[in-house]
């Protein structure tokens, strides 16, 4: 049966696709566009920048001093002026200058590195723990296996909202809230446990697709169970392991709630979501820089996704998501 499509239907179909693409891409297009502008052009109409520049990126990466840094010459003159004044009179002026400097700081690279460290470490450890756990779930018959598996899945039902207060209280009790580095360690443990269920579930599903006969042959040849895991299971499931790592990484990279609770008092230790949000509500929010920072925050994740798209989309539908 040959069907002839009516031109109206074809037109409507492509119109729907077109509107969908606009709907999805619209904010991203503006994000990119504004990030390539000068501060004074931030609100030009028209999506193509008239005077494209990478100014905002250079400033964020510290390759170029921002106009605000240059302004500090004025402050230097001010400093010279007050040198002869008595100390009590110097103090308020100095304080004002320092607080001004603090406000103007936009330590994007520091936020970026903090995020990279915490998201990278917690997802790495999560994947390592999960490889062994998922192997036990999929291959080894031990009493209580069903119960453990179910309680891991139950975690999907507890949002961070419910855990925020008790976790905070627990970490206060064991003295893990006094400093920024302690805050980061608390976050590391929390991200680790938040990503474990996803990793275990996805890896367990993947391991079940590997034929057991390969392992049996290795065991007959005298290999230990641990040898089987490191020499057979891990190499065979490397794409799945990387996929799981990326998902776990994204959870840490995005996380705001716990980060804002545990590291809010310590700007040195801000992760990207907390740091950028704080800047947004400070005097230092300049749209071109905010957008350039947004683009650079997205780039690692989008690159990871593009390179692993085939596996990642499979992972999405296989339940590899937790929010």
């Amino acid at each position: 049966m040959v069907k002839r499509k009516s031109p109206i239907k074809t037109f409507l179909f492509y119109f729907a696709i077109f509107s969908l693409v606009i709907f999805v891409v619209y904010p991203f297009a503006w994000m990119l566009s504004v990030s390539f502008r000068y501060d004074s052009d931030a609100f030009d109409s028209g999506i193509i920048p008239k005077r494209p520049t990478v100014n905002a990126y250079m400033e964020l990466l510290g390759l170029k001093e921002s106009i605000r840094d240059e302004l500090s010459n004025e402050e230097k003159q001010l400093l010279d002026l007050i040198k002869d004044l008595p100390e009590e009179q110097q103090k308020p002026v100095l304080e004002r200058i320092y607080s001004q400097r603090k406000k103007e700081a936009f330590p994007f690279l520091r936020f970026f590195l903090n995020s990279l460290l915490i998201a990278g470490l917690s997802s790495l450890v999560s994947v390592i723990i999960s490889v062994f756990g998922a192997y036990a779930f999929s291959r080894i018959d031990f009493p209580g296996r069903g119960g453990v598996q179910k309680s891991v899945l139950l975690v999907y039902l507890f949002g961070g909202t419910i855990l925020a207060v008790p976790l905070y209280q627990i970490f206060v009790k064991i003295g893990m809230t006094g400093s920024g580095s302690k805050g980061l360690i608390s976050l590391f443990v929390i991200y680790l446990v938040q990503t474990l269920p996803v990793s275990l579930y996805m890896l367990g599903n993947y391991f079940r697709t590997i034929p057991e006969t390969i392992e049996e042959a290795a065991i007959i040849d005298g290999s230990s169970r641990l040898g089987v895991i490191t020499k057979i299971i891990i190499p065979l499931s490397l794409p799945a392991i990387i996929t799981v790592f990326i998902y776990a990484f994204m959870i840490g990279w995005n996380e705001y709630l716990f980060a804002s609770i545990f590291i809010r008092p310590y700007p040195q230790f801000y992760t990207l979501p907390v740091g950028l949000n704080e800047i947004f509500y400070s005097d230092h929010a300049i749209w071109t820089k905010m957008m350039a920072a947004s683009v650079m925050t997205s780039i690692p994740v989008i690159i990871l996704f593009m390179t692993m798209e085939k596996y990642l989309v499979g992972g999405l539908t296989a339940g590899g998501v937790k929010e």
Partner: protein
């Protein structure tokens, strides 16, 4: 480990090895998920002190009584339920529509499929800023566009307590529909073509085929994603809070009670407990009646 005695020695060794492999997982999840859930219930009966050294004061049910008498709580509760319903239904309708579109072959499909994932995979903070930019009063490009349809350009849609709820809901649908579309699409592609051919022979039109074949086949997927999204959106904090501080859903109410101003963490724990109980009842009912497990 006497209960292992009914196993043969080899099996026993296996079982112990299995437990060793899962022990880090079991310890972490018990200490950092299961224990806090119960500890939260415990805290909800106390006036929780924030200074180290001073004891929490037992106050019985008074946290709960205060909450239930608080009209802000009930308004927040209503907002949260409305937010969850709107976003779940909205993102499922959109996801279903997009899945049906993307199930057809057309020029440029690979590219469109890649673009469709962007809202879901891009870091939240980045897309929040770009939404805030396009919706800025007066200067925002989307605001300018909307004035063509009679919106007043001076309105700050995001930070207006009357509208922020709508913006946050649309934002949530925009961000999460790709997840639903992917789940539905993978099921669509697994439906047996024979059903459609048989229906065509019987003279069914496309609407009848959709109603009597596609939808029943999708029932279980849609039911499951609705459950997952329902749970996640009900607890949703970051997407709402980062977008607008004026969309007063319960997770934000808890956060503000617990961590801002004069913290009342006992009260926050009580709200979280109520939220949790409510969710358990709804999930239990839903799983039995809708998913028929």
């Amino acid at each position: 480990m006497t209960f292992l005695n009914r196993y043969s020695p080899l099996k026993k060794k296996e079982a112990i090895f299995g437990w060793k492999l899962v022990s880090p997982t079991v310890i972490l999840i018990s200490v950092l998920i299961l224990y806090p859930v119960f500890y939260n219930i415990y805290l909800s009966f106390f006036d929780v002190s924030l200074s180290i050294g001073s004891e929490n004061k037992f106050v019985g049910l008074s946290n709960y009584i205060n909450i239930l008498k608080d009209s802000t709580f009930w308004r927040s509760f209503g907002t949260t339920v409305a937010f969850t319903l709107i976003t779940v239904i909205g993102s499922i309708l959109l996801g279903l529509g997009v899945a049906l579109l993307m199930n057809k072959k057309f020029f440029g499909r690979t590219l469109v499929r890649a673009l469709l994932l962007l809202p879901y995979v891009t870091p939240l903070i980045a897309i929040v800023f770009s939404w805030k930019y396009v919706l800025l009063p007066i200067d925002g490009p989307l605001t300018k566009f909307l004035t063509l349809f009679g919106f007043s350009s001076g309105m700050d849609i995001i930070n207006d307590p009357n509208n922020s709820f709508i913006v946050v809901s649309i934002f949530n649908i925009w961000r999460n529909f790709p997840f639903i579309y992917l789940m539905i699409l993978s099921k669509l592609q697994a439906i047996n073509e024979d059903y459609y051919e048989a229906a065509e022979i019987d003279g069914a039109n496309s609407w009848q085929k959709f109603l009597h074949i596609t939808l029943p086949e999708l029932y279980f997927v849609i039911g499951s994603v609705a459950l997952l999204r329902g749970i996640w959106n009900f607890y949703k904090f970051d997407e709402v809070y980062l977008m607008s501080k004026f969309a007063n859903t319960l997770p934000i109410y808890i956060y503000e009670k617990a961590f801002t101003g004069v913290p009342q963490q006992g009260v926050a724990a009580a709200i979280a407990t109520l939220l949790f109980l409510f969710m358990m009842v709804i999930i239990g009912y839903y799983v039995r009646k809708v998913l028929k497990w």
